[in-house]
């Protein structure tokens, strides 16, 4: 009896220690930008690459050194060949992306607003979206000829579907209450679409642009590899066939820069248009 009570007492006794500061234990898991490391990594890889090439550890035919690639780029720029290919590519991508985006936005908004467009559009999009659009190129060549139209159409088709999906997703996600608010003030329907639904759907539409831009770059290169005289894809294929790896890598660098530029433009656009978020 006494023993039992002592045991209970011991278990319930509070643990006492000296007074000390409560240690902080809530930090971490909040990655902060460390730009210096980003650039260091980039520079380090290029330096290592150059070093490996300079000591002759890799065959320049398989992997040309960064300096040789830079020289190839300079040559391309000086001879004007770069502009010929780049302008051909940029024209196609600008046309294809714009056509696909305009059509995609139109159908996406229609699906978001009208039952009929929804009933017709969603199954159609669901059926065609998974088809790799490059598979349509032979058919499009048959329809439109081997010229510019078939390449532009391929890019437009590739841009169209992600744009439709992002747009109607954005329209669907517009808070119902905002629309109801506008209706409660008798705002006309067209104005509700322009002043409430579209701005509210803009974040989703812009993230759709990111997908459609990278899709259009992919399709551009692929289409130009299949049948084009000029353009980055044609240039890459030619360089590969002639085993001019320095030229080939120069082309890859240009594509990378192109992608980065477009990405930066989109980020700036998001920052200025979506500052309210």
């Amino acid at each position: 009896m006494t023993h039992g009570r002592e045991a209970t007492g011991a278990a319930a006794a509070p643990r006492t220690t000296d007074t000390h500061i409560v240690p902080f234990r809530g930090g971490g898991f909040a990655p902060a930008p460390r730009l210096i490391y980003s650039w260091l990594t980039f520079a380090g890889i290029i330096a290592l690459w150059q070093f490996v090439s300079s000591v002759g550890a890799v065959d320049p035919l398989f992997l040309p050194s960064p300096l040789r690639i830079a020289e190839a780029l300079r040559q391309l720029a000086v001879t004007g060949e770069l502009w010929r290919h780049l302008s051909a590519s940029l024209t196609r991508i600008a046309l294809g992306w714009t056509i696909g985006t305009v059509l995609g936005l139109s159908l996406g908004i229609a699906i978001g607003l009208f039952s009929l467009a929804r009933a017709v559009g969603i199954p159609m999009v669901a059926a065609l979206y998974p088809v790799p659009k490059i598979a349509l190129l032979p058919l499009l060549i048959l329809w439109l000829g081997i010229g510019e139209a078939s390449k532009v159409a391929t890019i437009a088709a590739g841009v169209f579907f992600p744009t439709v999906i992002a747009t109607f997703g954005g329209v669907d996600a517009v808070p119902r209450n905002l629309i109801r608010m506008a209706q409660s003030f008798n705002v006309p329907t067209g104005r509700i679409v322009r002043r409430v639904i579209l701005p509210a759907a803009l974040p989703s539409i812009l993230s759709g642009f990111r997908i459609s831009v990278s899709t259009s770059l992919l399709l551009l290169v692929a289409a130009e590899m299949i049948g084009a005289q000029y353009g980055l894809g044609a240039f890459l294929l030619m360089a590969g066939n002639l085993m001019q790896t320095d030229q080939l890598m120069a082309g890859v660098v240009i594509l990378s820069i192109l992608g980065l530029l477009v990405g930066t433009v989109l980020s700036l656009l998001e920052r200025s248009l979506l500052a309210w978020r």
């Binding site: 109801r180 509210a200 309210w276």
Partner: protein, 274 residues
């Protein structure tokens, strides 16, 4: 609304609402059943009831933004001379456009009307002054506190010179202190210009502080259980003399709501059970 004109010296023009045999169903869920409700000119009517009893649905139907399954709503009387939107809503979640500033949100209610820029700006400025928002005119909703956001919602409603304000739990998303402050300010606005108000809430204290009459809805399907007048002028209700009477009315109301809310609570649990 330009044809309405106010006779100087007469009392403010006002409008009344009448809900007749309102019923509402979502699929096979009956939300409202046979609700008859009269709201007089310049009256402040609170509608109170347990959650899910269809209070907000009733308000939506009375304001014409939800279609009732049965019954109809009539509106009569005279709109104020410069009223652009006689039946005007104030929302629980404020319903502000997040990409517009406070002033821009107020202007949104005016932009589709044929107003001169000068008149529009004047209306916006006036509404912001009355809600104490002038210095926040250029702030985006994300930069404003909840209370300030609802002030923008109230300013937007005032800017169109409403005849009837339909308020859907306007203070429910706010903390207790903000609620108290905003309630005082809103009451001052209303005492200054007595528009007809239908005020939906689940908060008995708000109803007791603000309303001329309090309509108690039963649990779902919502029916009118009772309509209780609060025969004490609003400006006297904060004082000590009114507390006994208010407490008595409050107790009576609470007894009614308590039973409904308890049963409603159990029904909610029952519905949630797999």
């Amino acid at each position: 609304m330009g044809e309405f004109s106010a006779e100087p010296g007469l009392s403010e023009p006002a409008m009344h609402l009448r809900a007749e045999a309102i019923g509402h169903r979502y699929d096979d869920l009956t939300v409202l059943e046979n609700v008859d409700l009269d709201v007089g000119e310049g009256e402040f009517l609170a509608v109170i009831g347990p959650s899910g009893c269809g209070k907000s649905t009733l308000l939506g139907i009375m304001g014409g933004i939800l279609a009732p399954t049965s019954g109809r709503v009539l509106v009569g009387g005279t709109a104020p001379p410069r009223s652009l939107n006689p039946l005007t809503y104030i929302f629980q979640d404020f319903a502000l456009l997040p990409w517009r500033t406070a002033a821009g949100n107020v202007a949104f209610a005016l932009e589709h009307h044929a107003l001169s820029t000068a008149e529009r700006d004047a209306r916006v400025a006036d509404a912001l002054v009355r809600t104490g928002l002038t210095e926040f005119a250029d702030a985006l909703p994300k930069q404003l506190s909840g209370g300030m956001r609802q002030r923008v919602g109230i300013a937007r409603a005032l800017a169109v010179n409403p005849a009837v304000l339909l308020m859907d739990e306007p203070l429910s998303a706010l903390d207790a202190q903000t609620r108290e402050l905003l309630m005082e300010d809103f009451l001052a606005l209303w005492l200054d210009q007595r528009v007809t108000v239908v005020y939906v809430t689940h908060n008995l204290a708000e109803a007791l502080r603000l309303a001329d009459r309090i309509c108690v809805l039963s649990r779902r399907p919502g029916r009118i259980k009772d309509i209780v007048p609060v025969p004490i002028p609003q400006h006297e209700r904060a004082g000590p003399a009114a507390q006994m009477d208010l407490a008595a009315i409050g107790e009576r109301l609470w007894a009614m709501i308590r039973a409904e809310a308890q049963t409603a609570e159990r029904e909610v649990l029952h519905d949630a059970r797999p």
